[in-house]
Symmetry: C2
Subunit: 167 residues, 2 copies
């Protein structure tokens, strides 16, 4: 019993057994745990959680982004994000500035301290990804990215590939 359609490659219709899919599902679960493990350890030392990491990551990625922008990306409620941001502002990792044109908005920036933690977190995460990419090879990486983009909701796909400007 083979899993591929006879032609064997490309865009043909795949025969996908439940067991094949189950392995992919479990792989996602286990990989995501590994993926978050290194940052989680660093965050725990500082008394933060995964929610703080996410906020720091996306503020770093789009300096000057507003709270509302972040809400769209993170997909949580403003109350939940607010708790996290308040803490980060208190701890002087994030700077919240009133909008120059629209004073209702708060524009968010990492402080120097914020950038230090961001770098520590992202470097740990990149280290694991780099090792995985190198072990799997460039073709596998391309496939990896391709499947992940298909799994996510289309909105996020757009966001992912815009704004790779800085640096």
């Amino acid at each position: 019993m083979q899993n591929r359609s006879p032609s064997g490659g490309g865009e043909s219709l795949l025969f996908l057994t439940d067991d094949q899919l189950r392995k992919g599902i479990e792989a996602m679960f286990f990989a995501y745990r590994g993926f978050t493990a290194d940052p989680d350890r660093i965050l725990a030392k500082h008394g933060y959680g995964r929610a703080h990491h996410r906020a720091i990551h996306f503020v770093n990625r789009q300096p000057g982004t507003t709270v509302n922008n972040l809400l769209d990306i993170l997909g949580v409620t403003k109350q939940s994000l607010n708790r996290v941001l308040r803490r980060l502002v208190e701890d002087k990792l994030v700077d919240s500035r009133v909008g120059p044109h629209d004073k209702r908005e708060r524009h968010l920036y990492l402080t120097e301290r914020g950038r230090v933690l961001e770098h520590e977190l992202s470097e740990a995460q990149r280290r694991r990804m780099r090792a995985a990419y190198r072990a799997a090879g460039p073709d596998a990486v391309q496939g990896f990215r391709k499947v992940l983009e298909q799994i996510m909701d289309p909105q996020m796909r757009v966001f992912l590939n815009t704004m790779s400007d800085r640096s």
Copy 2:
């Protein structure tokens, strides 16, 4: 400025920019959210959370597994798992039987009701994975699996590829 090493394919050493890695990291984040979205909706209807899904999934995968086995797989504390299992046993989705040889152990099985919910959850998750796999193509799927296995901790890699017996 190109991202690949000159040879362009295969097992050569990759030049991986921080931006390439960042895209992979964000792709994991967004994809995982999509990955859990469909089951989450179903679970919410029944008043369950993601933890219940995980327990149901792995009890279904290894009928008769013990609590200790589950703990190794799930990577949470036994107290945390116990709360989830207690609820599932109360609700008659999981059957907990005292071990025949070692009475300290509890062997776990899905009931008929449990299997019904398990199927609803896994079918929703498979539907999304199937669509993503088909859109990405078989080569991409192979790469996807390969990179995920590299990201996860090695212990889990072993578990993933053993025990694909039933069915």
